[in-house]
């Protein structure tokens, strides 16, 4: 099962849940891979302290114009959806950070004057922490192409019983790249007006992607009950509720897993997984009905 942990609002507890869930399941004997797809600022490693076994560059393709062949016709600029290549007074300008590496300009150039070269935009690393296999991506500072790195992270995953994807916050391109093709999405929120507002946006996103999902409420005893009310109205299952326990924050600040620091929370994560599996099975049944 391929499960993405996402959210609307940032800072709700995705990494907390991803890491604790990963170790809960690995300790049950399942084979687990944890993918940190928040490539602008990956932070799972803080809690995993992983042994990194492989590190490699993530490349995107970039057009390079062969001046001697170019006649300034401008077809490349007309093909480009992103204004990454323009022709100004017969001069071709390329804007690397806007280029999505689609190869269109090179493909359509009538003079065959465009070749593609590699450009590094980030790194991918694989390794392990205890029984959990771990992959993380890191987008280089100043780069915009998160999805390129995220795709490499996901491709680097092999087979396992469970793949947990720690997604970036929000609902934009990097999130879609992380969440797409998941069997299930767990949306993490907090019971506040901002939490609810952004949860609604995330729900809209997952419904559009047609992926079964459920909600986890972190620090459920602060704030108001609007999130609960919303989930009930929308027939959305809440499969995990974590209380606002100062000791959890203290463990987090030390880079410790909740399940290691506080024994009594082990059951919480185990039960939430059972709920998720049941929902997933239920979903399969209703699809084939």
């Amino acid at each position: 099962m391929n499960i993405a942990i996402a959210s609307g609002k940032g800072g709700t507890g995705k990494t907390t849940i991803s890491t604790n869930l990963a170790f809960t399941l690995a300790r049950q004997g399942k084979s687990v891979q944890l993918l940190d797809c928040d490539v602008e600022e990956p932070n799972c490693h803080i809690f995993l302290k992983p042994q990194i076994q492989f590190s490699g560059p993530v490349n995107v393709l970039l057009p390079k114009v062969l001046d001697e062949r170019c006649n300034g016709c401008g077809v490349c600029a007309r093909v480009c959806e992103y204004s990454a290549i323009v022709v100004v007074k017969d001069k071709v300008l390329v804007f690397p950070e806007l280029c999505h590496g689609c190869g269109g300009c090179s493909l359509f150039c009538p003079q065959e004057a465009i070749v593609e070269i590699q450009r590094i935009v980030g790194t991918v690393e694989t390794g392990s922490s205890g029984a959990v296999r771990f992959i993380q991506g890191l987008l280089n500072i100043g780069e915009l192409m998160s999805p390129a790195v995220i795709h490499v992270v996901k491709k680097a995953a092999g087979q396992s019983d469970i793949i947990i994807i720690d997604s970036p916050p929000g609902t934009s391109c990097p999130v879609i790249a992380s969440v797409k093709d998941a069997d299930f999405v767990l949306l993490v929120t907090e019971p506040t007006p901002f939490g609810l507002n952004d949860l609604k946006l995330a729900v809209e996103m997952v419904r559009r992607l047609m992926i079964p999902f459920a909600v986890a409420i972190n620090r459920f005893d602060i704030g108001d009950d609007e999130v609960q009310r919303y989930c009930k109205e929308e027939d959305i299952d809440v499969v995990l509720q974590i209380p606002d326990d100062r000791r959890i924050a203290e463990a987090y600040s030390r880079g410790e897993l909740i399940i290691d620091a506080l024994d009594e929370y082990k059951g919480l994560f185990e039960e939430s997984w059972d709920s998720i599996v049941n929902l997933g099975l239920h979903n399969l049944k209703s699809e084939s009905a």
Binding site: K9, E40, K89, K91, S146, P168, C173
Partner: protein, 137 residues
């Protein structure tokens, strides 16, 4: 000589628009006669590359100078390739700005005066300071 100004409205008595790529309107003035015409900016809602597209459009209109508030590095590069002089830090009524230009009050910008701010929308990075548009349409 033809010069262009980023504008908030279609008249030479409107205010200069501080933005370039997403200015509401571009006004092209023939400085000898003060005749002008206004062009609605088609790039206001572009997902990305607004500065590049706007600069390219103005270059194609054969303007020699652009007066604006702020110009980013991508647009600046396009103007440079087209041989269009960039003057930043301009504000106020357009007619006044043109007169000031004719009096030689402005100096040409040697580089862009605002950082790259490509892309719009996307809502990336909710709840954290790193949110950044991804420039995708």
């Amino acid at each position: 000589m033809k010069i262009a100004i980023s504008a908030t409205g279609p008249s030479i008595d409107d205010q200069v628009d501080a933005r370039l790529g997403r200015a509401r309107v571009f006004i092209i003035v023939e400085t000898d006669t003060m005749e002008f015409n206004a062009i609605e900016n088609p790039n206001i809602n572009a997902g990305g590359g607004a500065g590049i597209q706007s600069a390219q459009m103005l270059a194609q209109k054969d303007v020699k100078v652009i007066l604006t508030g702020n110009c980013g590095p991508n647009a600046f590069q396009v103007f440079g390739a087209a041989g269009v002089q960039v003057i930043v830090g301009v504000s106020g009524i357009i007619r006044e700005a043109v007169e000031q230009y004719k009096n030689g009050a402005f100096s040409q910008a040697s580089q862009h005066n605002v950082a790259s701010h490509s892309g719009m929308g996307g809502g990336g990075g909710m709840g954290r300071g790193g949110g950044m548009g991804k420039g995708r349409r």
